[in-house]
Symmetry: C2
Subunit: 312 residues, 2 copies
């Protein structure tokens, strides 16, 4: 890094602090074909926490048949004892919740869809049926004192349906809050959003009684739009941003190698804006370079590439 | 492309129209080692114009020894007769201007530096000496009725000096305007800017009497920041944005393959915001894929990759 860069210049209307919800170990790795050894996953999470990430989505309790990469959840979680970060896990249904609770998990997430096409493709259910499936999961988790995040996928566009009406996003968001979700993450699963659209969705959610304090945004960089959409969301009051170390992960429905917003690119912008994240960019970049070595290909993050030449 | 995407949602405070200053044929190609045949360059420019780009920086009249890739300027320009676009060219000095004027060029650009280190490295002069060198070039061009653009490089950071004081940018900008430049392009040559910094520089320029109507921005995507910085500049009144088709080009001083903001990623955002550019994204992407074939490597533009799988 060049001393004194990025230059810190705050901007009015933006928050002092943003919480990054790191999704690399779960969302980033889940589509990797070659199974990453559980020891490497544990080390990855430990390094992310050491770099200052305070929330790290660790794994998924989906049936091993569907996501073989994360079939080691029962082995992974006990290896993370003592990691100084919140470690939410994805839980698809009641069986997954039982497995997570048996391991002492304190935070879970359910993965819903705003569109019928993706609910059918991903969950083999209608949107309403999937919400019914989540209802007992959320209720049981809450009774156990477990925090629940609700993911809403395809909030800005869908490969089958095209543009998604903002009212449809608001309806599903309202339902997930009513089920008892503590936080909602608005996913641009195929990366098609632009800043005005982000503002329109957030405004519609506000009008539907969804407080912005309970929202996170989850942008994909498929069309290079993730960071400017994040900036738009911050201007609208969002304070929690999902990102993936090194830009790991991709959506199998997009014809592109690029996936999640890279945590490093986000931290560069937030550092420049003087917005606290608690993350040390140098340590984070070193972690992504180390992980890229295990995966055998360079990180797609622009910031990682600029700061650390990778010979892969 | 998926029908109906990006969804068009305008945002208050942004312009109705942006003029894209396409720099691919000059800035994008100048660092390519293998010389691109002049016929391919002419075809590239013709295709860019057909895709709706109204300003295309065509080549440079720098001494062929320094930029061998653009040594064919005298052959290229006559091949562009009838291309329906403004075709500015870079001109380093009086000799370059003579060559350009002899070919009937109607718009030129001079390439200055805000920092002493880069002026020394790139021009082997101090900043003041380089401005003295430009003075007769600008004066002669203006007398001939030729429009002059002034590039300011290293406006946001410099690999040797780190952060660049905003007052230093304003001073050089003011001097270039006083010399007679019609338009100034603020370059983030190493891609380190963030949105608050962009606002601070534009505010300082306004205070120094540089009208925003005469400004363009030229962001590099080295750290993934180019598009969010562009959004910040649009909010501050900038209406001209430099970009490079397919993201062609890179800065030899940055350890990264990524260079200029990709025109396609910019157009995706502006299309979504309902901001007119006159550009047809499908034709532009096809042009970048065609050019990537000639260069033998895939375009780094996220949008190009998402819209057109490239087998390179």
């Amino acid at each position: 890094m060049i001393d004194g860069l990025p230059m810190v210049v705050p901007e009015p209307g933006l928050p002092d602090r943003v919480r990054i919800h790191e999704v690399g170990p779960r969302d980033g790795l889940q589509n990797e074909k070659a199974v990453v050894p559980v020891e490497v996953k544990a080390e990855f999470i430990r390094r992310l926490a050491d770099a200052g990430l305070a929330t790290i989505e660790a794994t998924s309790f989906v049936h091993p048949k569907w996501v073989p990469q994360l079939a080691d959840a029962e082995r992974l979680m006990p290896m993370l004892d003592g990691v100084a970060a919140r470690l939410p896990v994805l839980v698809p249904n009641e069986r997954g919740l039982e497995r997570a609770l048996a391991l002492g998990v304190r935070e879970i997430a359910v993965f819903g869809s705003v569109t019928e096409s993706f609910a059918k493709a991903n969950l083999n259910r209608t949107v309403d049926e999937s919400l019914e499936m989540f209802a007992p999961v959320v209720a049981t988790a809450r009774e156990a004192g477990v925090t629940v995040r609700g993911y809403l996928s395809m909030c800005f566009g869908d490969p089958w349906e095209g543009a998604v009406p903002v009212g449809q996003v608001a309806r599903v968001a309202r339902r997930l809050l009513d089920l008892g979700c503590d936080e909602l993450s608005l996913g641009d699963t195929i990366g098609v959003a632009t800043p005005g659209h982000v503002g329109a969705v957030l405004t519609a959610l506000g009008a539907a009684g969804v407080p912005v304090e309970r929202l996170a945004v989850h942008f994909h960089d498929t069309y290079g739009q993730a960071l400017s959409n994040t900036l738009a969301a911050l201007r609208h009051g969002v304070r929690v941003v999902d990102a993936s170390a090194g830009g790991l992960g991709g959506c199998p429905y997009a014809k592109s190698a690029t996936g999640n917003l890279a945590t490093e690119d986000l931290v560069w912008m937030l550092d420049g804006l003087g917005i606290e994240t608690g993350v040390d960019l140098g340590r984070l970049t070193a972690t992504s370079v180390w992980m890229a070595g295990h995966l055998g290909r360079p990180s797609p993050s622009r910031t990682v590439r600029a700061l650390s030449p990778q010979e892969l």
